[in-house]
Amino acid sequence: MSSLFDSLQVALKTMGNLQTGISVVNDNVANVNTPGYTRKRVIFEESPPVITPEGAIGTGADVLRIEAARSEFLDRRILSEQQIQGNLAGQQFALEQIESVLYNEGQPGISDQLTKFFNSMSELASDSSSLSRRQVVLGEGAKLADSIRSAYNTLSSLREANRTEAKNSVDKINLLLGQIADLNVELEPLVSLGMDGGSLQDQRQELMGQLADQLDFVSYQDDSGAMTITTSGGTPLVVGGESNRLVLEESNDGIRIKVDGADVTADLNNGRLAAYEKIDAETIPSYLAGLNQFAEALADEVNSIHASGAGLDGVSGRDFFTYSATDPVGSLQVALTDPAAVAAAAVGAGAGDGTVAQQMADLRDQSVTSLGGNSLADFYSNMVFQSGLDARYVQDSLANQQKVLTQLQNQRDSVSGVSLDEEAVNLILLQRSYQASSRFIQVVNSLLQETMNLIG
């Protein structure tokens, strides 16, 4: 037999339950725009009944747990797509800079300057005794060397800027790894009791999303709820409450990333850091090497023809350009200062002979063995073509990747995101139940009053 007092207890408990429900709705509504927030819902459970001779009488409901609407599958997919996207985004900036340095639209770039240099040779051939035309050849030669050097230096400083990005990325990764390890510690007591980590778990997922933008990693959650994070090669980064630090080492051949002294550079395939590493160790060096190859070929080919001719003073065997093999672009210079020394004429011919100048002008269309059979102009335009193709590839892939990621994030939000309409309906339900409970208390109260009146 149950009493009116028991009923009051049940109503009180119900109101407490409903308040929990309202605060969860409140939390959901408050976090409607919080990145990484997973909507929560209260799971109620029937309270154990009181067994009476007449049968079991229910005693209301209890809050079983607060559940978060997570989808681990989608969370994982999103992490791996974020790693790819981070990598593409990391490459995009540098590749767009490279193509613009090499193409140099509107300015006298290498390509324009190469043409002008050969034009000045062609003009000298038409009037080779002219000192002013010889002076022009020296000037265009120097400007050509400068334009190659300028592109080279811009690419080198781009490499420096890219290294700074890599350092920033390493700092960010180390910070994130530390934060994730801290959250592991905080989550342990909750998860080991079988509870949802709630906002702590959301935070950790969000941090892992930020980490995925920078680095590719493998992660798994153990029974205690701790997230273990390793590189794709298995080097541990976060184990329980402990995190390792990434260390960036610089060298001329490119940056190396180490963890605890072990080189993990080869593990980096995705994320921004891998992009910066690739730009630093492969992409920019390949263009720098291309420019060196170009400068050497230019100097060697021009010199070999130039040496066969004679200046106005009749002297032959002089070089037009000088450079040192250790730093071809940096040291490339016009060797001559006296315009009369430009060897326009064949040995023994008169001052008006421009045969050798014409041979140097003809060089522009000739295939050069050290450039793989390309002419100088073709070799350079191939570099421009390659830079455009690389940038285009990354731009297109990034646009596609963005679509894939958006699709996945929408899918996750379909499961985990907050819908205000839903929360409003939940709130109405809770409100009505709360009103009903208070009404119930009022009724029980008046019944008790009746009973009291009987006594009094």
Binding site: R39, E105, E123, Q358, V384, V425
Partner: protein
Amino acid sequence: MRVSENMNVRSFLTNLADLRSRLYKSSLEVSSGKSLRDPSDDPVGAARVLRIRDQMSRIDQYYRNINQSRTFLAATDDALNSVRNLITSISEKAAYGLNGTLSQDARDAIASELDQIQGSLLHTAGTTIDGKRIFSGSEVLKEPLVLGSDGVTYTYQGDQNALSVEISEGLQIQTNVAGSDVFTAAGSDLVNTVKQLADALRADDSGAVHVLMGKVDQATQSLDVCRTRVGQSLNQLETAKAQLDQRAFNLTAEISGLEDADLAEAATSLSQNQTALQAALRTGASLQSTSLFDLIG
């Protein structure tokens, strides 16, 4: 499908970003007039643009070379014409000098006229452009003809080298005529023959005058060969120039096709994108403000 607020916001934002970037691209295209600004816009096109710019710059150089050559050839042509006129008067005067009724005084007068003609020939041989001798082969800084140690005979001190100028890809023309072909050619030796003619008239040696007049005729023939060659070179310049004009026109059209935006199309897509952006903003604004919370009190 369950739609949460984040999804609305995300699709709104991604669509907005997409529209903004398309709007940026089309407005850049309209304002710059270019559809190819970076190689990644069209990698193949960019490589081609470099090639075309190279071609166009070369064509400008060929125009300069052609003008240079034209000046040189025209000066040579003028000089050869005056040599032609001088040869005609040599022949006339020599023929007149053979007239048996002439007195020795008259023949001497003709002889001194021939001496003057030799002076004119020497002057013509020394023609310069910008300080360069046009009849000395590649030895442009030397006089073509120099008086020998005998004080009578002139010899050629230039060389036989051709002065060649590139007037189009792989096309070079010779702009000069070696002075030896005009003034001291084997068989005619014009500049010395005229002196010998004067001497023969002074000596009243009509036999020698006949022989020397034959040599003058030969000089006419070898001169005409040179004049024809110069005329052909001048024609070649005009042909090359016409071809370059056509090529420059084609290249300009091609580079414009690669680089320039189709303005009508770009302007249309600009206004389309503007409309789409406005629509998206309106939809987004109304979406964000609608929820059941507005209606419960």
